[in-house]
Point group: C2
Chain length 368, copies 2
Amino acid sequence: MSITGKQLHSTLEADGTLTLELVDKTFPSPQGNQLLVRMEAAPINPSDLFLLTNGADLENAEYSLGKMVAKLAPEMAAAQKGRFGLPQMVGNEGAGTVLETGDTDMAKALAGQRVACVPLHAFGEYAVVDANMCLPLGDYSCEQGASSFVNPMTALGFVETARMEGHDALVHVAAASNLGQMLNRICIEDGMGLVNVVRREEQAQLLRGQGATHVVNSADADFEDQLAEAIEATSAFLGFDPVGGGQSTDTCLKAMERVAARQLTAFNRYGSDKPKKMYIYGRLDFGPTILTPSYGFSWTVAGWLLTPFLQQAGLEVMARMRQRVLDGLTTTFDSSYKRKVSLEEMLQKDAITDYARRATGEKYLVTP
Amino acid sequence: MSITGKQLHSTLEADGTLTLELVDKTFPSPQGNQLLVRMEAAPINPSDLFLLTNGADLENAEYSLGKMVAKLAPEMAAAQKGRFGLPQMVGNEGAGTVLETGDTDMAKALAGQRVACVPLHAFGEYAVVDANMCLPLGDYSCEQGASSFVNPMTALGFVETARMEGHDALVHVAAASNLGQMLNRICIEDGMGLVNVVRREEQAQLLRGQGATHVVNSADADFEDQLAEAIEATSAFLGFDPVGGGQSTDTCLKAMERVAARQLTAFNRYGSDKPKKMYIYGRLDFGPTILTPSYGFSWTVAGWLLTPFLQQAGLEVMARMRQRVLDGLTTTFDSSYKRKVSLEEMLQKDAITDYARRATGEKYLVTP
């Protein structure tokens, strides 16, 4: 049996024309460890927007039923020449019902069940996925399980990374996001110190209302002092930053160095020897990262991405993380959505210009 | 017995006034494992210039015998507020003759010998140092042994770091320096791949004349292509950059990513998973480091400094490195000097404006 259904394609041409379009796609029967899943809910994550909307002139785009054609900023197009003319499927994660399985025991055991999965083509009516990468949802609904991979595993990944590198506290930038709220709950549960950096007072109140101890607001005049104080109180010399561009990472390293320098007994021309590290795990700002020479030579800035982290962490750690997500799906790892849209609706101007803003706490859920 | 001699002090005041001055200092008798050394030769390394000349208006300074008073650029002064009003001794390394020793066997065994040492106050007539940090020079002269620590151990440290992190090739920026020439000789001896990045054709010729295989000139129109080709030929995904400010590190990471992307079988929105790493080990450019979002998330930029590296590497590795330096002091680790100056001469305008330029291959040697 093969099955045909709508699938979202994103195609970028060399002239910068970006086309998002629902096309009919035929899925063959699943083989071996594969499952054919009818997708029922898929979140639009910031990580999906890279292929969907980043750099596109959405205001002046052409919209029709199931289709959008926009122009991409030239520098954004140039950076993606590897995909020129090649339709990309979109949608990292989602949840649905298993319609058909391959012939392995693992695949067959999931027949008819609701599963969360990471097909990388979740914005469509169907998906073919490997049973290894599926999480059976039991009594949870597909909407409850739709966001059970990217954000929960990333937030847990930060805590695992901190522990692997010998830290018991961390700094998180843009900390009021869905991901940030999860991280706050995890850190409270685990006794891991957390310095939440936000940019608006409402966000600070939101996190404090969820039990956060250290919340600093970059809009405050004494922000840098507050940040240094929170770092001193927690000994957080490791941080995670989804902004990337500009000086958010630089600001954290400077504050860490201020704290470390207080503990120096004599002036050191090279700065403190205290290791200070920031991971950049997103690009909310596509501008260049600016690092000033203000924190000596004992510092590291590195990219952080979920897939390589999981490969490095290994199957055992990953299984433990997934079980914890399943156990806390409606508590620690609860996701909330601003709006539910169909596949057609997600390509309409009002929706696309709204979710492309990546406003904190305003996530969309696609329900095909 | 205590002894009095001239010592160079560098004092920065809060108003940005920088004073370099020879003062009389009294050294007490060495205790325990200490040695009293009469300094006979000390190189002026880029790492010494931070306390000596960086950011100072040398052209309009006041010069008198054994003294210079200059104004420091405000941003440079502000970054060093930890030393306001506190005289700093200067001179990382040098060589001299042991005049008196403490009472340990290790100290006593060095009585009367010529030793290379790392007193951090080498620009003076005498120094008190720990015997642990001294290298007996045997038949070598003090001038031959003066530069036997900072550059040789740094160059060897790069190769050790590369091996520890599983690399068998590296990129070196500003590769025609004394340090870069040493690194080239070490890499040839060890069969370690090396991509030398220079900025002038004479520098390229100099390194090629010393047997370098891969030399790329950033002044060439097709520099980025050449760099990528050399990285592909050597598989150098680790690099060392003494420039720091601007985009030299960024350029290397971009070239590494170009090579890694060629090996991708499909477009990956996150860039390649190939780990790419650059260490910044100096600040020839005090501007901010600019990192563009051009190489995905599998990258690391970190500071590298000799002292923390040696602490991490441990005594055994350090002893092996020091023996190798001693064995190759006039070959692999040979240093050349543009000019020899006395302590008074090093504070004269013609000398100070010349060595402050940090021109490649134009190092000064102080012979008190």
